[in-house]
Amino acid sequence: MAQVKIDNVIKRYGSLQVMHGVNVDINDGEFVVLVGPSGCGKSTLLRMLAGLEEISDGTISIGERVVNDVPPKERDIAMVFQSYALYPHKTVYDNIGFPLKMAKRPQDEIDRKVTGAADILDLTKYLKRYPKELSGGQRQRVAMGRAIVRDPQVFLFDEPLSNLDAKLRVTMRVEIKELHQRLGTTIVYVTHDQIEAMTMADKIVVMRDGRVEQIGAPLDLYDNPANIFVAGFIGSPSMNFVHGQIVNEGGVRQFRSDNGLMLPLPDTSAPDGTKVTYGIRPEHITIADHGVPLRVVVVEPTGSETQVFAKHGTDFIDAMVKDRFKAAPNSEVRFAIDPANVHLFDRETEQRL
């Protein structure tokens, strides 16, 4: 168990800089999830934590120790690679048991831990097989097994569930949370999956283009996104954005989009005429008679909820409503918005107002 401190870390590949001063503080025992679009540097950051990638500038410390120059095997970390990285010439059993064997643990301990992990991961049937005889999801579970037989200072997971089917993914998610609660080990976890991020994390780090955009508890990021990027990235389906400005018509302050769509404005100190981007989450919109009139584009029922896409000119807004709803394309629909749920962003800086 250890705290991890990532201090102003920069990564360059030759003249190409891909990480521009990343700062993240991870408390002892915390479950931190890294999210961000493809290519933003999540794997690179994880690999720097593991010691597989040189740190061009800044420092990383694990526990009290600065590890910039500590080789991977002395960092006491377990990692699950995005590419699984199984040993092709070893059986599932030997793959999972490899770290224990390298640590010269007694054979009965290896036996007990490997069979235990195989049990959790539903791999017991496959212990004698070779990686090439496994499906993608099974390989991914072997990679998980190799990590969880250890008791490291920090777990690093790079999209460890990306190749599992929906059901197994839920099971594994619960297993990992349970593992975390049982061992209390610090975990850094990369994922593309919104639900994984929201449900597992104590703290989410949102990255973009080698920079940290915001760090916070899941609901914190959901309720108070720092900028348009985070607002759009956290939450699924993602937030609606409408560009326009604040207007005052007969003493009533409102938002008017560039297309003339009028929407209710929350309390804000921004003066009239401020150019803003208006953000509202689909799940915060209801259909009601007092709502704003729009034209239906398409209606997508998902069973439990219905997603209604509507437009006004070139402003598109979609709503996620609980009730079943049917409407012909181009018919009128009224979206009711509670101003308390509205987020306003500066149009220039894209920062929250």
Binding site: A50, G51, Y84, Y87, P88, P99, R146
Partner: protein, 291 residues
Amino acid sequence: MQSNRLGWILLAPTLAILFFFGVLPFIYVVYVSFHQWNPFAADPTMIFNGADNFRKIVFDAEFLNSVGVTVLFVLFAVISELVVGYILAQAFMKEFPGKAIFRTIHTLPLIMAPIIVGSVWKLMMTPSIGIIPHYLNEWFGITVNIGTSPVAAFATIIIMDIWHWTPLVTLTLIAALVSLPPDPFEQAQIDGANKRQIFFHITVPMIAPAVVATVFIRLMDALRTVDEVWMLTGGGPGSATRFVGVHIFKEVFPKTNYGYGSTISVIVLYLTIVACWLLYVTMLAPRSKKD
């Protein structure tokens, strides 16, 4: 059916060549090995003598000696070539100035004919004119004469073989190392393996197929080394470097013992196959069996 016939037609030239230049001569050698035959004698007819030649081999002290010498030579040469070849391959995996030139020079011995290699080394080793005995004497005060010292002759042949064939091993090992995926090596570091453990647990098993293939090639080649040795020592001094290839050559050409020479060839082929099979069983089969 149609594509099957086309396949055979396309294969036919290769099969024909294989048959006429591989299978037929082999059958002929086996046939000759059951005869007594000296085509240059007054009576050049082949006389069938059953298994006499094979019986004779068992009591042929010179042949048995040559097998011993050959095995020793093959062990020393092939193991050294593997070790040196691996070290060079690892060196070539890294970047250093002049790497391309060095790599080219290093492969030059490969393109030389064995007979040339033999004569160059003979020139370099001849006492009083050769560069190697000269400097060995001047720098270390060692006198070497491959004409009189069995050990010197044997060692020189091994060094010559290493010089000649290590580049082949290096090239195949470079190819094997380059094609290795990086992830298992990174994962092994994370799993706490040190350099030695990574070498034995990851590198060796992953390049084993290439190593075995290289050893096969080198083993078969080394077992029938003739021309270099013939040129350098002629099999001497005494019978210190009289490898089976040289032995067969001496039986067949100076002694014109075609029948008996063929018999030795067949036996040597058999021994080679056994050696390769043992190698295969010990190095590769355990893995495929576990599958």
